[in-house]
Each structure stands twice: as C-alpha cells, then as structure tokens.
Symmetry: C2
Subunit: 504 residues, 2 copies
C-alpha cells in the first residue's frame, strides 16, 4: 500500500515541477503574445495535477494504511509522508477542480495586467482583475477553513504557506516584533553617526553586475556555470527562485545606479536556491522531500542576504572583489563606511529595497491589510488609500503613486494571500537559527572573512535543508534551537549589530 | 456530441503545447544537471497526453457521431476534425502508455548522450542508447502498421510526419530527384564560371549576427521585438522551431567565420514559424488547426530560405543592409558574385550547411539508411560505415569522424525516424508552390527586390498556412497547384536558376 501511495505521489511532484518551468518561462522568456496560451497551459496543468492529487485511489490507499498493521511497520519518515499526503488529500478533495483551474487562469491574467498597470501607474486597470482573484481565493479559504479547522478563511490560506500557525498568533508575535524594530529604528535614526549611502549610487554597468552575480553564486556554491550546474540567473522585474532539486533558477533585476539592489537580491534568491537544491535526494518526489514551510524558506534567504551578506566579515572579504569587477569604484571607501552604508536604516517606500530594520514594518502592514481584506472589513478598491496611510503612519513616507505603492509587489496579483507574513517569520526564525549555529560554529564569522562559506553551508544543509518537510516549521525550530518560536534572538542580533554600526 | 469531442481535444493540444515549451527549455536554457528531472517531466507529460488521447470517452463520442444523423449536419471542417480525431485515436489506442512514456524518457537520454558523444567524437557512447531508441520506435512501427494498414513498420513511422505516403512511393520520387540533382550538380561543377566563396568566411562578430537575425525577422514580419511579439530567437547547437500559434520560437547557431550559416538558418526557421503563427485562429486547439504535414512545413521553410533567401532579388535588397550591420565588410563584393557565392554548389559533409543542389542527396541517403535499418537489413552499429560509404559514393566526400558523419544531426537521437524524407518532399512541394504563386503574383521578385515580403506572405498565408490540416499533403498540393506531386517544377526552377548563375 505504502509503496503504491508513494508511486502515485511521485507523478504529482513531477507535474508540479514541470508547471514551475512554465511559470519561470512566462516571467523570463515568453514572447508577450503568448500570455493567453500560457494561461490555458497553466490552467490545464493545474487541472491535471488537481486530478492526480484528488484521485480517489489516493484516498483508498490512505484509508488502507492508516490504522492498519502496515502503518506500524513504517519508519518515521514514511509515517510523515502518509501524514502529509493525508493533509494535502483532505484539503484538495474539498477544492472543486473548476475553482483550481479558474484560479490558475485568473492568476496568469492578473499578473499580466499587474505588469501593464504598474508600468502605467494605473491601479484602476488592475482592480477588477484583482477583485476576481481575491474572490476566488476567499472562496478557497472558506472551503478550506472547514477541513483545516481554522477560525477564519485567511487562517486557512496562511496554513498553505506556514502550516499550523494562525493570524492571531502571528499578530501577537508581530506586535512584539514591531515594538522592537521601532525602538532600534529610532535609536539608529537618532544616532550621531550616520551612513553616507550616496556611495551606493555609483553606476555599475549591467554587464559588470552580471559578473558580480556569478561571483556571488560561486562564493555560495550555487553552481550556474559548470557542466554540472543546477542553477541559472535571469532577469525579471521582481526577483524570484523557482525549480526543484537539480534545476533551481533564480532571477534578479539590475539597476545601473543601484548596484546593491541586484547584489542583495542574488544573495537572497541564492539562499532560497541552496535550500531547494540541498533537500535530501532520497526524498525526491516524496512529500517529505520539500521545504518545511515558506517561513523556513525565507529564513534561509534572509540568513544569506542579511546575516551573512550584510555582515562586516563578508564585506571584509568581498569588497576587494567588488572593486575588481567595478574598476575600483569603491577603492576610496573605508570598509567600515561601506558596511554602515549597506546597513543604512532609512524608512522607504519599496519593500524589496528596505533595510533589515524597517523591512519588518513593510510586512506587518501588508499582513494587517490582508487580514482586513479577507475578514471582509475592507474592499480591494480601498487598498491604495489604506496602503498609503499605513506607510505614512508606520514608516513616515509619502506614497506618490500606486506603482510605488500598493502595486509594488507581484504577490497579490499572483494570488499569494497569506504569503507576506512568512517573510517576517523567516527573519524571526533566522535569528533563532543563528543563535543555534553560533553554538556549533563559534568562528563562522572568521571563516566568512576568509572567503569560505563551506562550514556555514554544511551546517545549514545538515540542520535545515536535509530535514526537508520532516517537521512542521514550529517543530523544526524546536528541533534545531531547543526553543519555541521567539522574537528575542532576532531582536538581540539586530540590536547588537546596529548598536555597533551606529555607535548608539 | 461533436462539441464534446472538440472540448476533449482542446485539452490535448494545450498539454502538447506545454510539452513543447519544456522541450524548448531543455535545448536552450535548462541547467545541465536538470536533464534527469526533465526526462521524467517529459515522460509524465507524454503519459498524461497519451491518457487524454486514448480516453475511451473520445472513442465513445466518435462512435456516436460517425454514421449517425449528427454527422450529416457537420460542415467540411467539422468532418475533417472528426476524421483526424478518429485517425489519431485509432493509432494511439494501439500504442501502450508505457511504450510512449519509455520512448519519451529514452529520447531525452539519447539526445543528452548524443550531445556528449558528438563533442567527444565517440559514436560508441551513443550506440547503446540509440539502439534502445530504435527498438522502441520499431516496436511502435510494428504496432502502427496494423492500424494504418501500411506494408512496413517504417511506412507507419513515415505516416506520422507525412500522412498517406509510403517508402516505396518516396523511393520512386527520390530516384527521379536524384537523377535531376546529380545532372545539375555536374553541370555546375563543370562550368567555367565558379564562385569565390572565400568572401563568405569573413568574420562577423556574434553580436552583429544577432542584429542581422532581428532584421531578417523584421523583413519577414516574424515579430520578436515588439510588445505584441509572438516569437523569439535563441541559440542552440542545431537550429529548430517550436511552439504553437501565438508563441512560436526559433533558434540558430552563430559561427563568427561563417555568418551565412546563421543567416540562412534564421530564414529557414522563420519560414516554419510563419506557418505556425498563421494557422487560422478559429481552429486553434482543433485537429484541423495544425500544419498539414512535416513536408508541407518544410516547403515553407525552404521557400523562405532558398527560393526567396538565395534569390538575386533578395540580395539586391538585403546586401546593403548586411553591409550596414557588418561595417561594410562586403562593400567590395559585386552583387552577382555575392549571389553566386551563397549559391555555390559544393558537395560537403554537413547537411545543414549543404547547398540547394546537393542538399537532396544528403536526405536521400538518410532515407535509404532508415529504410534499411527498419527493414532489419542493417544494425545501428553499421550506421557509421554505411554513412561514410554513401557520402563517398553520392557526394564524393571523405568523412573523417562520426561527429561530422552519422552524429551530425539530432533527428535520430531524438527518435525522429521517417522525418528526414520530408525535407526533400518539402523541396519538391516548394517548387510546385512557386509555380502556382507565380501565376498569381508574376511580379513577386520585383517586390522582394524593393524590400517587400508582404504580398508573398499574404499569398502563402492564404493558400497554405490558413488551410491548416484541412487537407492531407497530397490533397493540399492538388488544391493549390492543380497537379499531383511532381518533381519537375522543382527541377525546372533549379535548372533555370543555376544555369543563369553558373552560365552553363
């Protein structure tokens, strides 16, 4: 029975990995006229995957495993596969095939409309498509809240990204995070010592930035060049990672006058890619051979981007390399000044360009808006105004148009409601993971300063990546750190780092 | 019933178009390590398509349409859809799902092995994989010969590319073609006037060649640049066209010291792409909304590459443009000398670099070998020797290693047996199509000389592209030209052109 279940599941993971190639192509290479055809392809592939996931034979197999003698012969990993299959089966059998296909179709159309609306700074064009998509997701959330026994449709949507956490729990954690971030932000903004971030606006030609991307990939052991490469780097409006095991691709966006934008995007996305590439090969095509959650995934990207990539030690190693690639345009800059500049705390409008301290505030306000939207307390048409007001309230910035405001991210156009909170959860996890890693690798910073990422990578692979989805995120954090989810290690890390940087 | 049949068929075409994106990505962008996963993706997608095509519900619907009153209410196009669906259904229901999936898997592995074996000039590595693939195709041919009522397995394989033609018929046509080609070849090689083809080995940097590709695409109205583009140009070892309607992509291969190689590849592939893009939109996702055959497809690519692209009139228009893109490296060359050079008749080793006259000989020998291979008269291990002997006999050239010999093309590694003859059939058709077009557009050459492809394109769209698969290839040729398949118009076109060029 068990082997039959695994065989049936394998096909599902293969189809989903094929769909991710179609999605990647849609964002990177597809000729613009292909969008309608691609929407139909994605809809049909989603329908095919849905039919496979909801195949009654899977239900039969599950029924004939659970509670029967065979179950007791399974090891822990196998039991986890049964558990994850049951969860997915129950959830998906409740979702009508037509709703799934229609959502895929609407998602492709809305993303395409978002691109045009963003270019035209015209939320009006996006609004009707976004409304349709929100309705489709709400419908799914309402169906799923019964299965998942959640209190609200939004909780059911969150559970897809971060299993077994509720909006209420997140709200509590985020309140603590908000308080901590605002406190550090104020100390930084009020400090005597202030960064000169104008140095980061020096022009670096796109070609040089492409070579920098490749050198960062090499440093991280994310192979995009050799005959055995399992990755590649392309260019999109919004950077992302996509793929499965041996074919995991990242994208970035090059701005000539903001070279650090792509540099940190590449570190971030490569952090994701390393997780996907280092899931245990033996578990490929099994439920347990996936990431634990989006939040854990984000902990890995944030770890590489911020904890490593914005550290003094990384730059003591990498600044000379950066100078090589850029014709020494930073050779007049002190290492201390450079590190302070890449860590400048400055409330801003754009999430993906936000610093480590204010970033959480961008997330918290999106989470609050999603929660209101799915509670039915606000409508899609109110999003721009609320967005602008919250940016004013939390970050003190004035949003001038919806392209830099509510339309800045692809997520809502892509139907990813319940996704945003995982970004901040990832930061919180990364702080706990750092504390655990430092116990095992007290000299990790010295290694980074010497240009070696090897031991850190090995530790992450061993403790996080190679666990796949064996544990739910809260359980994984407990396994790795010995603690429950806790904001304090992350806030301590920030406070220690920023007090040094700003001398407060 | 009929509408139900069309709805079920639609999903099949969508899945197949998605598979073509996965194939394109495999050849162009996929990281090398992704090959095993991609093989599995293609196998599963093929299995899914196979299940759809062989869904008994399609058989039921067909049974309840054919011979019932509803059938008489259908128009000619609808009846053709029923006919084509019946043909595909009968063929595919005979092919075991496992054989189809295994063939897809073996095809991906063999193509990958072919790449490496070709780079290493080592047929030994390729041989075992090729043997497995030939066995799988033979197995399919044996099953299909019953359904299609063909005399041999090879005929059944040919029928997939060129419906309702047999190896015996082709052999007869090819004998006539061979005689004609050899006669013209001898006249050219014996002429006093001989081209100076050294001018075509002047270096053109790849970047300039990329701009040339884009300008050729623009001339043909194959849009790869605008916001409404439905095409794109990438780089692969062996050029190809792939896609469906609004997303049809071509590839080329740039050689700095042979700029004409890519130029004619782009014309050739864009000729294919125009056909696929101009199939009638109303018939999208229906059997009738496909090309008539591979041979007819090839007639379109050969028409653009040779009849148009190697004409005096095209170069009287395009040579100044070529000079612009290349820093005037051809400004010392007379138009007459240039046109003679791009039409040089010279027996050579590589099919895709062959001239218009010897090209057919490359095809005829491949056809003869395939026929022997599937008759069981020769084995895969004998291919290299026979290949080399035939090249010596027909073309008088000495093959030095299997990379320039039997491994030069991707087709056999890709499992495309029965495909090669369609290339020469395409040439024969293109001669007949040219004769028909000249009756309607007597001044087409003058238009090309003025840089306008519009009327020619409109004629091709109206007479060929917009017919989709409404007619089988031999019927389409009869519709368009009023004649049966006939080698003479093609040989007349060649003789007239080459006697002028070489002054024989």
């Amino acid at each position: 029975m068990y082997q039959g279940l695994i065989e049936k599941g394998k096909e599902i993971f293969i189809v989903q990995s094929a769909a991710s190639v179609l999605n990647w192509d849609m964002e990177t290479k597809m000729p613009p006229k292909g969008i309608a055809l691609r929407s139909q392809q994605l809809a049909v592939v989603a329908r095919v995957a849905h039919r496979m996931i909801t195949d009654p034979e899977i239900g039969n197999l599950l029924d004939r495993i659970e509670g029967y003698p065979e179950y007791d012969t399974l090891d822990g990993i196998q039991k986890r596969n049964v558990e994850l299959t049951r969860k997915a089966y129950n959830e998906f059998t409740k979702l009508p095939e037509e709703l799934v296909a229609e959502t895929e179709r609407q998602r492709a159309i809305t993303v395409d409309t978002w691109k045009k609306a963003k270019a035209a700074k015209d939320f009006g064009t996006l609004k009707p498509e976004l409304e349709k998509l929100v309705e489709l997701r709400r419908e799914a959330g309402e169906i799923l809240m019964e299965v998942k026994q959640t209190a609200t449709p939004y909780d059911a949507l969150i559970d897809h990204f971060e299993p077994w956490i509720t909006a209420e729990t997140i709200a509590g954690i985020f309140d603590e995070l908000k308080e901590g971030l605002i406190s550090i932000m104020r100390k930084c903004l009020g400090a005597d010592k202030q960064p000169d971030s104008s140095i980061l606006r020096r022009r670096v030609p796109v070609d040089a930035q492409r070579r920098i991307s490749e050198s960062l990939a090499e440093f991280l052991g994310y192979d995009v060049k050799s005959d055995e490469a399992g990755g590649r780097i392309d260019e999109t409006e919004h950077p992302f990672t996509s793929g499965y095991y041996d074919d995991v691709r990242i994208t970035t966006h090059y701005y000539e006058n903001r070279p650090m934008s792509s540099l940190f995007s590449v570190l971030h996305e490569a952090g994701h890619a390393l997780y996907d590439q280092n899931l245990p090969g033996d578990w490929m095509f099994q439920p347990v051979g996936n990431a634990s959650s989006y939040g854990i995934h984000e902990s890995q990207s944030r770890f590489v981007e911020n904890i490593l990539g914005r550290s003094y030690e990384f730059w003591s190693y990498y600044l000379p390399t950066l100078n090589e690639f850029t014709g020494n345009i930073f050779s007049d800059v002190d290492l201390d000044d450079f590190v302070l500049a890449v860590n400048q705390v400055e409330p801003s409008k754009i999430r993906v360009e936000a610093d480590e301290i204010t970033y959480g505030l961008h997330i918290i306000l999106r989470f609050e808006m999603e929660r209101l939207l799915f509670a039915g307390s606000i409508g899609v048409d109110e999003l721009p105004d609320i967005w602008n007001r919250k940016y004013k309230d939390y970050l003190g910035v004035e949003i001038e148009n919806d392209s830099e405001g509510v339309m800045q991210d692809i997520h809502w156009a892509g139907g990813y409601y319940g996704y945003f909170p995982t970004y901040a959860l990832g930061n919180i996890y990364s702080g706990q993971i750092l504390a655990a890693m430092e116990r095992d690798l007290p000299n990790w910073k010295a290694q980074i300063a010497q240009g070696s990422f090897k031991d850190v990578k090995r530790w992450l692979v061993k403790n996080i990546h190679s666990c796949g989805a064996l544990y739910d995120p809260q359980d994984l954090i407990r396994e790795v750190t010995g603690q429950e989810i806790d904001v304090r290690p992350y806030l301590s890390y920030l406070d220690e780092k920023y007090s040094k940087l700003y001398g407060y």
